[in-house]
């Protein structure tokens, strides 16, 4: 058995059967990173030693028969906005280039307890703002299916790494689709859990009411395993919810109580949807029917309002969350903050220092969203924009509540287009924002969503299909995803890099 192509189950089987050790597996992944990362730019300043050391320790414990955690010896790469004690956590921003948190994120603590092996940090859009990984201060990550193309964003590094088997699994974060969209563009499985299902403690905030950490994997079982480890209430996150964590792995292989009811919203098939993706979704619905599910048409009438609402709520929260980076206590501090114009002459040096530090530290997309967020919260405009966006958000939730009275999951596209070329959309922010059209609503509603491989375009690029479920119905969501996966072989397709 080859550890490199393996899913988490494959790795765990290999370890227990003695086919390979954790150290061998990690070394295999490290070799692939060394071989391919220069082309993919998925991982940042990669030092394999700590991971190898951890692997050796786990092998020793395994040999001595010690009990091991559920992810023992499984390498997992971590998006650069999830804090690891003493390690750089920069959000791929110049602003945080020197930040090393003095604490582990809640999910990191849980992964350590589960004996997972932390394998490097992943490239991402700066502060998770972007849909192509091009806003990263470390340059874009590349799609292993075609390195001229983007792996999507903002968890582009995670998607690229898992798709190229630089790591079997990875943690990303999803604020408006940042796990699901890159999963779709790279032919991987990406899960955004219900808001509140996974602690956000230690996730550097972009938009607090939308952010959620979630896993990438090769198959549905991978994300189910990781979710079982990272889910659960955390006293350090007031928005994490006190509900028991089911064993998702068992759940996905069990039969549902009754045939699955799948809904497809008519609003999904509007302008901008790539025809190949549309037919993949229609094909998926036929597959569900052939697996015994009922498929019905539903309506999510406010879907079209989701993008405008999202691009008000998310920047509003971001403008506040990112206000702390002013060079005073932390964040990049400008060296030269002398007055640069007549207007600046009258400002106190402190204000000029903050202005210069922020101007130097943040890239253009982050700056754009801070400006947008500041504007929509301003006196005189908040009612017109922010408050209205919150009302739309409520309507979108109501749409879902109504739809989920009749169906268990909603099937649709993940991204309107397959992987696009690096540089193709970056100069057109509005076109870029439209890439979130199918994923953003789930964040506004707080419900879980998963993207899984659903086909390949004629030119050989992955197509992702998305399933969404009611809040905290991850068992149903994963079971439905597994039903589709079992009936297809799209998740076994791999890009060729050699």
């Amino acid at each position: 058995m080859d550890p490199l192509g393996a899913t988490i189950s494959g790795l765990l089987d290999g370890y227990s059967s003695g086919s390979f050790s954790s150290e061998e597996a990690v070394r295999g992944f490290v070799d692939r990173v060394v071989a391919y990362n220069a082309r993919l730019n998925a991982l940042l300043d990669f030092d394999p030693e700590p991971a190898l050391e951890q692997a050796r320790a786990i092998d020793a414990r395994r040999r001595s028969g010690e009990p091991l955690g559920p992810l023992a010896g499984v390498p997992i790469a971590i998006k650069d906005n999830i804090c690891r004690r003493g390690e750089p956590t920069t959000c791929c921003s110049r602003m945080l280039s020197n930040y090393r948190p003095p604490f582990d994120a809640a999910v990191i603590g849980k992964l350590r307890e589960a004996d997972a092996i932390l394998l490097g940090r992943l490239n991402m859009d700066e502060f998770a703002m972007g849909s192509s990984n091009e806003t990263s201060a470390y340059g874009p990550a590349r799609n292993p299916w075609d390195t001229d193309r983007s792996p999507g964003g903002s968890s582009g590094g995670a998607a690229s790494a898992v798709a190229a088997s630089l790591a079997p699994t990875a943690l990303g974060s999803d604020t408006g689709g940042s796990i699901r969209q890159p999963a779709a563009l790279t032919g991987t499985v990406g899960l955004k859990p219900t808001y509140g299902r996974v602690s956000r403690y230690g996730l550097v905030a972009f938009a607090s009411s939308l952010d959620q950490i979630g896993p990438f994997g090769r198959e549905v079982a991978d994300v189910a395993r990781v979710l079982s480890v990272i889910a659960g209430q955390d006293p350090r996150d007031a928005t994490s919810v006190d509900l028991p964590v089911p064993d998702y792995l068992t759940a996905i292989e069990s039969k549902g109580e009754r045939p699955l009811r799948v809904g497809i919203a008519r609003e999904f098939f509007g302008e901008g949807l790539d025809p190949e993706i549309e037919s993949a979704v229609r094909e998926a619905s036929r597959i569900f029917e052939s697996e015994g599910a009922t498929v019905s048409k539903i309506s999510l009438p406010n879907t079209t309002q989701a993008i405008p609402a999202y691009y008000i709520v998310a920047p509003a929260e971001a403008s506040s969350n990112l206000a702390r980076y002013d060079g005073t206590i932390f964040g990049h501090r400008a060296e030269d903050f002398g007055p640069k114009s007549e207007v600046e002459k009258d400002l106190p040096a402190l204000i000029r220092m903050m202005m210069a530090s922020r101007a130097e530290g943040f890239g253009p997309e982050v700056t754009r969203r801070i400006m947008l967020g500041t504007f929509v919260l301003s006196a005189g405009y908040a009612d017109q924009y922010y408050v209205r966006a919150l009302k739309v958000r409520r309507l979108i939730r109501d749409d879902y509540d109504r739809a989920f009275r009749d169906v268990d999951v909603i099937l649709g596209p993940t991204s309107p287009v397959p992987a696009f070329k690096v540089g193709e959309k970056i100069s057109d922010p509005l076109a870029m924002y439209l890439l979130d059209v199918y994923t953003g609503p789930a964040n506004l509603a707080g419900i879980p969503g998963i993207s899984l491989p659903g086909g390949l375009t004629k030119s050989g690029l992955p197509i992702g299909i998305q399933l969404q479920a009611p809040a905290f119905a991850e068992e149903t969501l994963l079971r439905a995803a597994r039903t589709f996966e079992r009936a297809t072989d799209w998740n076994t397709k791999r890009p060729t890099l050699d």
Binding site: C83, P101, V204, D237, L377
Partner: protein
């Protein structure tokens, strides 16, 4: 300016904004400690530093203390309350936003009592606009050489902001109101209210409504006074500001329509307020709901539970001490103002001994002096209410006279022993037998013939001579005689002898 003449010409309009630091072990949104006076930045944690990735979690105790305060002042407690972010840039504000409450504070309405003044003024309530919770900011330290340093020990400390309506009409009432607030909050265990340590801070908004000669009423520009860090400073600053505003109006004629609200700082040393900055435009705080915290829903059971924890408040206790125990208003006030532990102690002693007036005297004169001298908390005072009431009962039964009682108490304090042990050891006790004492009186008079001569001769005042003789009798009995009985027997014997 003739003060009496002008005081007829305007009303003083005062409203208060009071910040109270809640007495919690940890900060508003993290487990970080709140101890005062530690070296800069030693009382911090990732959350109160606002480190990326950290999240706030509400301190339940702080919320309960806040609710208790609102209930104590008769405020309406909101059943649904949420947190908001107030966004502004300041170096001592680590996140560059403060978590506060904006449009749905946990409490609205209610009132703070205004104590009656000696001159007959005061009384009634100042209405409360709202009480809300927020986190404190850090502190800037402006060091030498133009450098500024930031101390974040206070950042995240729970603060209660109490905003009153502009109902106060006299600087003395503003002070009285704050003093009563402090006492009440101490009774509630909500805050230690140490103004010097910044755990009670007050800003005052003040202006004048002046009645002009032509019968109009004009308002002077509103001034917000800051930096007042004692109760007397509040009163002085307001007096100063009243005079300044009146003079300013006489000189410039500027009214509230002509000038924006001004912020002035009070300097205790200079005894004056000085302009801090003009508020040209209202700051845009870009408030929005804090997405990292969940709203708080308060139900009836929660309110009932807290209401039950609120004991008798100072105002009520004063009047009960007067009506139940027949204490004077002065005595009732002294006992209540010492704080809840002293008032409770008095209650216990008065009930047990059945002698409220004596209990009040003993506590005010002996107990309080003792704890003040030894800098003790009442909880550490070695003589509990039962022991003190036992002693008072003995004095009342004339087993001891007052002076002996004082000595016994002092030894009880030193040794922690009960009164009966000390009385037995020390041979205290009164000569209760009238015949025995009459014999001592007779022999004392006999032994001092000069005293009788003095009485007969009229050279000395009879009261002085009698007093001296009484002293001799007390000496003979080593203080064990009942002084009142000695006087009675002395008078009787002298009368027998023709004096």
């Amino acid at each position: 300016m003739d003060a009496t003449a002008t005081s007829m010409d305007y009303d003083i309009i005062i409203g208060l904004e009071i910040h109270v630091q809640l007495q919690t072990e940890s900060k508003m949104f993290s487990g970080c400690g709140t101890e005062f006076g530690l070296p800069p930045n030693t009382q911090t944690d990732p959350v109160s530093l606002g480190l990326p990735g950290t999240l706030p979690v509400m301190n339940g105790k702080a919320f309960n203390l806040a609710l208790k305060t609102a209930l104590a002042f008769g405020a309406e407690v909101a059943r649904f309350t949420k947190w908001d972010r107030k966004n502004y840039y300041y170096p001592d504000l680590p996140k560059n936003y403060q978590i506060s409450q904006y449009d749905l504070p946990f409490s609205t309405g209610g009132g703070l009592p205004i104590p009656a003044r000696k001159d007959g003024g005061g009384g009634g309530d100042v209405r409360l606009t709202r009480i809300h919770l927020e986190e404190d900011t850090g502190k800037m330290i402006h060091a030498a050489g133009g450098m500024s340093e930031v101390d974040l020990n206070r950042a995240g400390v729970p603060l209660l902001e109490i905003v009153t309506e502009p109902d106060l009409r006299d600087p003395a009432d503003a002070r009285g109101c704050l003093e009563e607030l402090r006492l009440t909050l101490r009774y509630l265990g909500v805050s230690d209210c140490e103004m010097q340590e910044g755990s009670l801070r007050c800003d005052a908004n003040v202006n004048l409504h002046i009645r002009t000669a032509d019968g109009r009423t004009v308002a002077t520009p509103i001034v917000e006074i800051k930096n007042m860090n004692s109760f007397s400073a509040v009163e002085k600053a307001l007096h100063y500001e009243v005079e300044r505003q009146f003079k300013d109006w006489e000189e410039t004629g500027l009214t509230i329509e002509d000038a924006p609200k001004q912020t002035r700082g009070w300097s205790d040393a200079a005894g004056e307020t000085k302009v801090q900055r003009e508020k040209e435009t209202a700051a845009d705080y870009r408030y929005f709901p804090e997405p990292d915290l969940v709203p708080v829903e308060v139900d009836d059971a929660w309110i009932a539970r807290l209401r039950a924890e609120i004991g008798e408040l100072p105002m009520a206790r004063r009047s009960r001490f007067e009506s139940e125990y027949g204490l004077s208003a002065y005595d009732a006030n002294v006992l209540v103002e010492q704080g809840q532990d002293v008032a409770d102690y008095f209650d216990a002693v008065a009930r047990e001994a059945g002698e409220a007036k004596l209990a009040s005297n003993w506590i005010q004169q002996d107990v309080l002096r003792e704890i003040k001298e030894k800098k003790l908390a009442l909880a550490d005072f070695p003589v509990g209410p039962e022991a003190l009431s036992d002693l008072i009962k003995r004095v009342k039964r004339k087993e001891l006279n007052t002076n002996q009682g004082r000595e016994v108490l002092s030894r009880m304090i030193d040794t922690g022993k009960p009164a009966d042990a000390i009385i037995a050891e020390g041979g205290y006790g009164l000569i209760g037998d009238k015949d025995e004492l009459a014999a001592v009186v007779a022999s004392t008079i006999e032994a001092n013939p000069k005293a009788l001569e003095d009485l007969a001769g009229g050279k000395k005042k009879p009261e002085a001579v009698k007093g001296w003789l009484r002293g001799q009798v007390m000496k003979q009995t080593q203080g064990k005689a009942d002084p009142a009985l000695v006087v009675e027997l002395l008078e009787a014997r002298l009368a027998e002898l023709g004096h």
